[in-house]
Symmetry: C2
Subunit: 221 residues, 2 copies
């Protein structure tokens, strides 16, 4: 095994692991705030809601940041994960669609505290353009390109009605945005190289309903 630079060490982290790293990061932050200096994989696994073997394997993809017989230094590990995910740097974000959900997103403190800075709120509806949400004034959707260019925005959030989402996505991609978080209830088609993650509130409820129905079937009270 050859020595690797830190740039090379960021290779080949499985997708399933990437999805859990933010959970570990939050658990570590909680531990750190409660004054914990070191923790075992068992402790952290419990805080993150996974089993310890999976946690250790996940962390092993980042490198060997633990000490056998001791555990992990909470702050050190936290920094390493944050660096790996990329939340040590500042990510400018635009939110398009300032309805109920857009409001909630704009006000969500969890973004800013993790390195995401909402640089603009955009809406196609001119009657919203005099509004100020979370200290940011709502601007016309047509300002998208200028804002993206001036702020170096790489991540866009779509909180529009489903009917408008594909158009918004197309415009975002045309401006150079390469990661999209989509809250609209529709399937987006984007060119290769653009990442889309979908959050669909009603789908989550439907999955719960399915299981709920199963439970009722098995044991009819």
């Amino acid at each position: 095994m050859t020595a690797r630079t830190s740039a090379e060490s960021t290779r080949d982290i499985p997708e399933a692991t990437v999805a859990r790293l933010p959970v570990y990061l939050r658990a570590l932050t909680t531990l750190s705030e409660s004054g914990t200096i070191t923790c075992s994989s068992e402790d952290l696994a419990q805080a993150a809601g996974v089993n310890s073997a999976k946690l250790r394997k996940d962390l092993s993809y980042l490198g060997s940041y633990g000490t056998r017989g001791v555990g992990y230094d909470v702050d050190y590990l936290r920094y390493q994960i944050a660096r790996e995910i990329g939340v040590t740097q500042d990510w400018p974000v635009v939110i398009v669609g300032i309805g109920n959900l857009g409001h909630a997103l704009a006000n969500y403190s969890g973004f800013r505290s993790r390195g995401f800075r909402v640089v603009a709120l955009l809406d196609a509806d001119p009657t919203r353009h005099d509004e100020v949400v979370a200290g940011i004034d709502v601007r016309p959707f047509d300002d998208l390109e200028q804002i993206v260019r001036e702020n170096g925005v790489a991540i866009g959030v779509i909180a529009t009605p489903a009917i408008a989402a594909q158009d918004v996505a197309d415009r975002m991609v045309a401006c150079g945005i390469s990661s999209i978080l989509n809250f609209a209830a529709t399937v987006l088609s984007v060119p290769a190289g653009v990442d889309v993650r979908k959050v669909d509130l009603s789908i989550e409820l439907q999955i719960l309903a399915y299981h709920e129905q199963r439970k009722a079937q098995v044991e009819p009270a």
Copy 2:
């Protein structure tokens, strides 16, 4: 292979498939509204953003609802999937935590249109109790048990700050709620038999940030 009753046919649907059924359901609804009578697995797969082999395999778990050489009857398949998921029936839901996100959820039309009926909005903060959101008045959190009992609520939504979420979950479980959709940024621990699904906005952004960082590393402009 013996003949199976419709109750028995609902066995053993893989979790990955369950998660996609709502997507197919929405795609079918869109097709139906555009006047389409029948569609091939290829058509539906494209509308749902998956490949056709996976779609056919998913549908095969429900039964044989297609016709070889022809395709699927849109409305018939839509009904079968809806029945399988359980959205042909009415699901009473309570939402706890009427902050920005709670407001957005209460107003979200996608719930009602898929069989989910918000029967109550609850908040621990007394200053919110005179508010009316989406035509429903906000009630004290302590009314939870009564509301759950009177309406037969099985599904609860948590939209509180992280610090309150575990308490809310405990109370929900104590009342008999057995499925929880959690928007709070924390890991909930619940007894076996209770389903929890987590939606975490900042985690989704962090996953995007990770990939975005990778792209920037590979091709530094």
